[in-house]
């Protein structure tokens, strides 16, 4: 429409009449006489309508299309659309599951620990990775224990790493925090059937880690309500005589187990001396004393419990020394493979040079 019409309303009316081939009103006719733009537009409109009307579809084409439509409709209704995508959806779900399992985001059903983790909140699962890499769990959430309420629940929980108190049985989860009162004790059982006892009053926390012998790290914090340890039983470090070395029935003095036992004696003696200074943690002193006594009596379980308790001490030096001693105790019983990851971790990041050196020595034996 070039040039433009100066009367757009009149042009609309003119084009309407041109489209319908009607009679122009006097105003429109007068305008059309003098407006070249409207003349061109009206003629174009007439031609377009004429061409468009001649280009209509015939009835045969419509009938053929109707037949196609009915055929496609019947085919579409014969099989539901979702049926075709079910195999693809299942394949997608399986691939996603395998991907998540391979990346460790979810656990496989035949593994005990991850099965528990899978039922935990996301924040708890996320904390596991941080703790496993020896990160400080200070900024991670803590959880109160959830005790099993039914017999079936108790049975289910006891089949997994759990803590049992007079209040009930609860599964171990990352960040589990439990306050034990004066006179109260709790039994901690791990997946491999080993158990240890924790005496109150204290505050205990549980964190899973592959670097611990049992797969769980227990942090024990002395409660303020704990009565002070009598001075009479904690003045000096317990001496560990040669006879404290557990008699080894498997290996002789020159064997690997025998060497481990001798080294264990040395570790316990030096560690006990280290913790016996002024201001020492009395609980640690007593635990070292118990460990020394158990070694003298060749009581593996008591010594293991004592080392386990020391291994959860808040002091890194005490904790790593106890873990080294426990590893040596296990080696003296021929269980090198089980403690190798612990020794590797101690050799790399032990709290003291002595611990790192001895762990490295054991690794190279």
């Amino acid at each position: 429409m070039n040039p433009q019409c100066s009367e757009p309303d009149l042009q609309m009316a003119v084009l309407a009449e041109a489209r319908d081939a009607g009679t122009l009103t006097p105003d429109c006719a007068l305008h059309l006489e003098g407006c070249a733009a409207c003349q061109t537009a009206a003629e174009r409109m007439r031609r377009m309508v004429s061409t468009w009307s001649a280009d209509q579809v015939d009835d045969d084409a419509v009938a053929a299309a109707a037949t196609r439509f009915q055929a496609r409709r019947v085919a579409a209704h014969a099989a539901p659309g979702w049926f075709d995508v079910v195999p693809f959806a299942l394949a997608g779900v399986a691939a996603g599951y395998l991907l998540l399992a391979s990346t460790g985001t979810i656990g496989l059903p035949w593994k005990t620990r991850p099965a528990i983790d899978a039922q935990l909140p996301t924040a708890v699962r996320a904390s596991t990775a941080a703790v496993a890499s020896s990160a400080t769990p200070n900024d991670l959430p803590r959880f109160a224990p959830v005790f099993a309420a039914t017999d079936e629940g108790v049975k289910w929980v006891r089949a997994r790493p759990h803590i049992e108190t007079t209040r009930g049985v609860a599964p171990l989860v990352d960040g589990l925090r439990l306050q034990l009162n004066q006179g109260e004790s709790a039994s901690v059982a791990l997946a491999d059937g080993r158990a240890s006892k924790v005496e109150g009053p204290c505050l205990v926390e549980f964190w899973s880690t592959p670097m611990e012998v049992g797969g769980w790290r227990i942090l024990r914090e002395e409660s303020a309500a704990e009565p002070s340890v009598p001075v009479a039983i904690t003045p000096t470090a317990p001496a560990v005589p040669e006879s404290a070395v557990p008699s080894n029935k498997k290996g002789g003095p020159g064997s690997r187990e025998g060497g481990a036992a001798a080294a264990l004696n040395e570790t316990v003696s030096s560690s006990a001396r280290d913790v016996a200074g002024p201001g020492a943690n009395q609980v640690s002193v007593r635990a070292w004393a118990r460990a020394a006594a158990a070694l003298r009596e060749d009581d593996f379980d008591a010594a293991d419990r004592a080392f386990d308790e020391l291994g959860h001490a808040l002091d890194p030096a005490t904790r790593d020394a106890a873990r080294l001693a426990r590893a040596q105790l296990w080696i003296s019983r021929g269980r090198e493979a089980a403690v190798r990851p612990v020794l590797e971790q101690l050799a790399q990041s032990g709290a003291t040079p002595l611990v790192r050196q001895r762990a490295a020595e054991f690794l190279h034996r």
Binding site: Q39, T40, T51, W52, R73
Partner: protein, 179 residues
């Protein structure tokens, strides 16, 4: 009314309306299928407050709009066409004259170059002869908006056709002067 009877009644209507909106495009059959299916599915909810053709036109219009939005996105993503244009099919050569087919083809291609909303108004008003009020009901908008789209669509169409040997400015002016 049975499904078969409803289908027999509305399908030709939908077919012709869809053809006027999109022409002989390659996806014409799909659009007819979708719109007719939609019409038949909603047929029981048609209350007769408007003409049946107005109601079906609205369904065809919405189907085309939705389909073109999706198709343009799809074409852009897979780079099959630069602007996401939909190719027209060449008409069959068993109709009256080749010249008429060529004219009709040029007119349809020019109309398809308009934006979907303007194209709908131009087709319904100028080429199919619907009133502005009816079109406002079909596209669910105000009368003034329809008039605005009509004016803009005519301007765009005149610009597209300005050099056409039959619909162009020169051809139309010559014809008028001849009269």
């Amino acid at each position: 009314m049975s499904s078969r009877a409803a289908s027999n009644e509305v399908f030709p209507l939908v077919y012709r309306q869809m053809r006027s909106l999109v022409g002989n495009r390659s996806d014409f059959d799909d659009l007819v299928q979708i719109a007719a299916e939609q019409v038949l599915r909603s047929f029981s909810s048609f209350e007769g407050r408007s003409k049946l053709s107005t109601w079906t036109y609205r369904i065809c219009y919405l189907t085309v709009l939705r389909h073109e939005r999706w198709y343009r996105r799809w074409l852009r993503r897979f780079a099959l066409a630069e602007r996401g244009d939909v190719e027209s099919q060449s008409p069959a050569l068993d109709e009256p004259t080749l010249e008429e087919f060529e004219r009709a083809g040029r007119l349809r291609r020019a109309v398809e170059r308009l934006s979907p909303k303007r194209r709908t108004v131009i087709v319904l008003h100028d080429l199919e002869g619907h009133s502005v009020e009816e079109i406002a009901g079909i596209v669910a908008t105000k009368l003034l908006t329809v008039r605005s789209r009509l004016r803009d669509g005519r301007r765009d169409l005149a610009r597209i056709l300005c050099a056409d040997p039959y619909f162009g400015d020169e051809a139309c002016r010559f014809e008028e002067n001849e009269r």
